[in-house]
């Protein structure tokens, strides 16, 4: 059955007619053309489709589009600031080798964002737990974890400047 839903997508309000059996992933990729969110398994096992719903990381392949009604959705396309400047996590993944083939990257970055928003000083164990639902075959996870730690440790000075000046760049 078709119905109309309203939600905030990457900071912009959106109103769209959807079918009730569509997943959020399908809506994003096939109907809204936001292909940054990837489908790796369709079963909630790989995390490539991770998006944030009201700040929480979820598998959009196991989330009905209809349930986004009234919610705030963030996909990888909405992470950079409006002027195009990258989110500290994006910069850090780029600069610390957190990206190889890149297929898991959008999901990884969003899981990391959900973590850091909730817990700005996570331990390595916290980070590993936060990424446990995001599979990666290329990196062995090491440089992904380091990319997140770099943000946490304020190792990258220009990232800190961005954070101080703009706060959360949602």
């Amino acid at each position: 059955m078709s119905r109309e839903i309203k939600f905030i997508l990457n900071g912009n309000p959106i109103c769209i007619a959807i079918e009730e059996h569509w997943t959020l992933l399908y809506l994003l990729r096939e109907k809204l053309g936001l292909t940054g969110t990837k489908e790796g398994c369709g079963r909630g096992e790989c995390g490539a489709c991770t998006v944030l719903v009201d700040g929480l990381a979820i598998n959009s392949c196991l989330y009905f589009a209809v349930e986004t009604d009234g919610k705030n959705i963030l996909t990888i396309e909405g992470l950079a600031a409006e002027d195009g400047s990258l989110h500290p996590l994006q910069k850090s993944f780029i600069e610390n080798g957190g990206i190889q083939c890149g297929f898991c990257t959008p999901g990884m970055i969003l899981s990391a964002k959900a973590l850091l928003d909730e817990n700005p000083r996570p331990t390595e164990t916290d980070i590993k737990q936060a990424l446990a639902g995001n599979l990666c075959r290329c990196t062995g996870y090491v440089q992904i974890i380091e990319s997140i730690e770099a943000v946490v440790d304020k190792r990258i000075e220009d990232i800190n400047v961005v954070v101080r000046e703009t706060g959360d760049s949602d």
């Binding site: 398994c41 990206i99 190889q100 083939c101 959008p106 990196t139």
Partner: protein, 770 residues
């Protein structure tokens, strides 16, 4: 030491911004106007006659455009052995055999249509064990082939193994087995084929071999009666390769055939389950090894034979013995070597290349046996490896010419960093294993070449058109660094094109860890040609002699000061009468050799070495193995980009750990029982190991700025290093991968005197205890 501005720096991947922002486009993300969606019907049986394929109901389904069965397509044979038609007729030989293909308006209709195709089969006796398949009474997988043994004999004997065996003071003789593991690329396989009105073909596909794929697709066009048309291969961003994309597959050819019939673009995209059951895993092996040394621990001989489960068809998996020969003949100094391998047809899934290309299987047997031999000879296992280490200048029995060789340094680095001398704790142990791999290309084909074209614009921006393929490893970044260094510009001035055969030159493919070495040298050669011209022009323009000019930071320097900006010189070359255009091309084919009939030949221009050391903790009650420390030392010649290099090592190591401990494709009578990430135990971030990569730079004289290949080595010695550590920890030797907790526990129990190791759930037979 030479000073570089770009080489040796931790430079971000050139495609990373697109990937971090979700802009990078993968095959999943491509849609063409009017595109149809294709889907494949696979066999219900591992071995059966196809009596009838009834497509009537499926054809009647609204939205179905084209249905093809094995009877509808021209004779096309895929693979190195030409035994694999993209749609089967008459007989199916494995559960992944393609029986029919559908193109429809959307993926759901295609799926429904597949369900409506009715196939009548007559089941045939099937064979799943490669050693059983050797027996004369075994059912034949391909009747017209007359035997299940592939006619690809792999036999070598250098020196005199039998004489050496008599001479040896210590000997070991063992059997090792490995099973299927699969690439698990996060982006599944997919292709879009589009045939235009003049029958020119464009294929968007995930491939590591654009130029060879182009040729394969050309063959399929030819089979359709089309000659002399263009085939263009476009390679989107690839969600992981690891060898899985070294061949062309039925689905790509089916996309072409469907597009040809429908006269519309057709996309076939695998779901995850299909990725597990219809792509080709690493080759399983049964290995018999014997090895002996003299009283001082010097290796005297190595004698190995293998049976490889080829599966029902033949892809590159069947040629992995050609690479296994390298560690077998040349890992450590061993004067007398014998090796024989048989690839055997079974009704299992057919196998392919996967990172390491046979080397992990061979090294698992060799390095496990090395530890056992060292113990038999009562020589410290580190010392034993030092005694036998390869050295620069060695020529191995197979004729491999070892030039740069940092193996002794790798062994020392692991020994120092892992601290083998730490006091022992119960259940904790250490192990090590080394590797040799091709590091300067590998002459598998007649050519091992790669082309590059470079063009520079008015402003010092550089377009590099390379034959190399990036699938995430950073080939484009490394090439950009090499060109930037040579042309005195910045990496951000360089744009590397590698995605399109209409634009990019020829290359044999991203395999054998060859890209940095071969494509790097190719790019370096092209850049050098431009550099020489620029220096001549600059000298003319400034009056400073060429040898006094330095090109760096986008300018020419004389005596340390910039005297001419590079863009200015470039513009003058365009805006001067009889001006010139800054373009150059270069085809680089390394000075390596094809193997001869006796399998001798220096297949690579140089070789990479490495040693891994690991400390494990074994839970003796559950058999679970935990990795405490991991050191991976590699001789890489020179680290062009230490960050990407570390990434290759970390990723390779965890893939190796999965191979050692958790990963296996479980086939029950030829059927994949775990086609998902729940039951295929790909390791998660919580299982990640903080491995410590150590880089040994031997600066190879043939490598671009001294670099050697490092794409594959990370996963080569991992399994034996872990197996050796488990032995050190709890005294049990596991000879069968993966080393799952149940195997470790069974071995511990047997050692302690327990009799039963239980019934194997799948074979329903008594499980052999370790």
């Amino acid at each position: 030491m030479e000073e570089f501005t770009v080489i040796g720096k931790r430079i971000s991947k050139v495609d990373a911004v697109d990937k971090a922002t979700g802009r990078a486009l993968y095959i999943q993300d491509f849609k063409l106007p009017g595109m149809l969606y294709g889907r494949i019907l696979y066999s219900k049986y591992p071995h059966a006659r196809i009596i009838k394929v009834d497509t009537e109901k499926a054809k009647a389904l609204p939205g179905v455009v084209t249905i093809l069965t094995g009877e509808d397509i021209p004779p096309i044979r895929l693979g190195v052995y030409k035994d694999n038609p993209p749609l089967k007729s008459g007989k199916v030989r494995s559960c992944r055999d393609e029986v029919a293909a559908v193109a429809a308006l959307d993926p759901e209709i295609a799926k429904e249509a597949i369900d409506l195709i009715e196939v009548t089969y007559e089941a045939l006796p099937a064979i799943f064990d490669p050693e059983e398949a050797l027996k004369p009474e075994a059912p034949l997988v391909h009747e017209d082939h007359k035997t299940n043994v592939l006619k690809m004999p792999w036999n070598l004997h250098y020196g005199d193994v039998e004489a050496a065996r008599l001479e040896a003071a210590f000997n070991v003789q063992e059997r090792f087995t490995t099973t299927w593991v699969t690439h698990c690329c996060m982006g599944t396989s997919g292709a879009i084929a589009d045939v235009d009105n003049s029958n020119n073909l464009t294929v968007y596909t995930n491939t590591q071999i654009p130029s060879l794929a182009q040729k394969d697709f050309q063959e399929t066009l030819k089979a359709l009666g089309v000659k002399d048309r263009r085939v263009r291969v476009i390679k989107p961003s690839i969600g992981g390769g690891f060898g899985s994309k070294l061949d062309t597959y039925a689905y790509e050819h089916l996309a072409i055939l469907l597009a040809w019939h429908a006269r519309r673009p057709v996309k076939i995209l695998f779901e995850r389950e299909e990725e597990f059951l219809a792509t080709s895993p690493r080759q399983p092996t049964v290995t018999y090894i014997s090895m002996g040394c003299d009283r001082e621990g010097k290796l005297l001989y190595r004698d190995m034979s293998m049976v490889l489960d080829n599966g029902a068809y033949t892809s590159w998996g069947a040629t992995t013995p050609s690479v296994m020969m390298m560690p077998i003949t040349s890992l450590y100094r061993v004067p007398n070597v014998r090796y024989t391998a048989k690839c055997v047809y079974t009704n299992n899934t057919y196998c392919q290349a996967m990172r390491g290309y046979g080397n992990p299987q061979a090294t698992f047997a060799i390095e496990s046996a090395i530890d056992m031999l060292a113990e038999a000879a009562d020589i410290d296992r580190v010392e034993f490896r030092r005694i036998n280490s390869n050295r620069p200048g060695d020529v191995t029995p197979q004729g491999l010419r070892i030039t740069s060789c940092g193996l002794p340094e790798c062994i020392d680095a692991v020994s120092k960093n892992l601290d083998f001398g730490q006091p022992r704790e119960k259940g904790i142990g250490t192990g090590l294993a080394s590797l040799i791999h091709v590091g300067g290309g590998a002459r598998i084909y007649k050519s091992d070449g790669c082309g590059t074209m470079i063009k520079m614009d008015d402003y010092g921006k550089v377009d590099v058109f390379t034959g190399a393929s990036d699938m995430g490893q950073g080939a484009d970044t490394v090439i950009a660094q090499i060109v930037a260094e040579e042309l005195g510009v910045k990496v951000e001035d360089i744009h590397v094109f590698h995605q399109d055969t209409d634009i990019c030159p020829w290359d044999v493919g991203a395999h054998a860890s060859r890209t940095t070495f071969v494509a790097g040298n190719s790019a370096l050669g092209a850049a050098r040609k431009i550099r020489l011209r620029l220096l001549a022009m600059a000298s003319k323009a400034t009056g400073v002699s060429e040898d006094k000019l330095v090109l760096k930071d986008r300018a020419f320097f004389a005596e340390g000061s910039p005297i001419l900006p590079l863009p200015k010189l470039l513009r003058s070359s365009h805006f001067t009468p009889k001006g010139q255009m800054m373009m150059a091309d270069n085809f680089y084919d390394p000075e390596n050799e094809n193997m001869g009939r006796d399998f001798r030949g220096n297949m690579s221009a140089t070789y990479s070495f490495g040693t891994h050391g690991v400390r494990v903790k074994v839970d003796e009650a559950t058999g679970k193995v935990e990795i405490l420390d991991y050191i991976a030392a590699h001789d890489v010649g020179r680290a062009i980009n230490p960050m990407l290099l570390d990434g290759q090592v970390h990723g390779g190591v965890l893939m190796g750990v999965g191979y050692a401990l958790t990963e296996q494709v479980i086939l029950e009578n030829g059927r994949n029982m775990n086609p998902d990430f729940r039951d295929y135990k790909l390791l998660t971030a919580m299982d990640a190991i903080h491995s410590k990569p150590i880089v040994i730079e031997t600066v190879d004289e043939k490598g671009p700025f001294g670099a050697k290949g490092i794409g594959e080595p990370g996963c080569v010695p991992t399994a034996p290093a872990i197996a050796n550590a488990i032995y050190d920890a709890v005294g049990v030797r596991i000879r069968d991968l993966p080393i799952t907790p149940e195997k470790v526990l069974a071995a511990i129990k047997k050692k302690k005197g327990a009799v039963s190791c239980g019934i194997d759930v799948f074979t329903q037979k008594e499980q052999p205890c370790e």
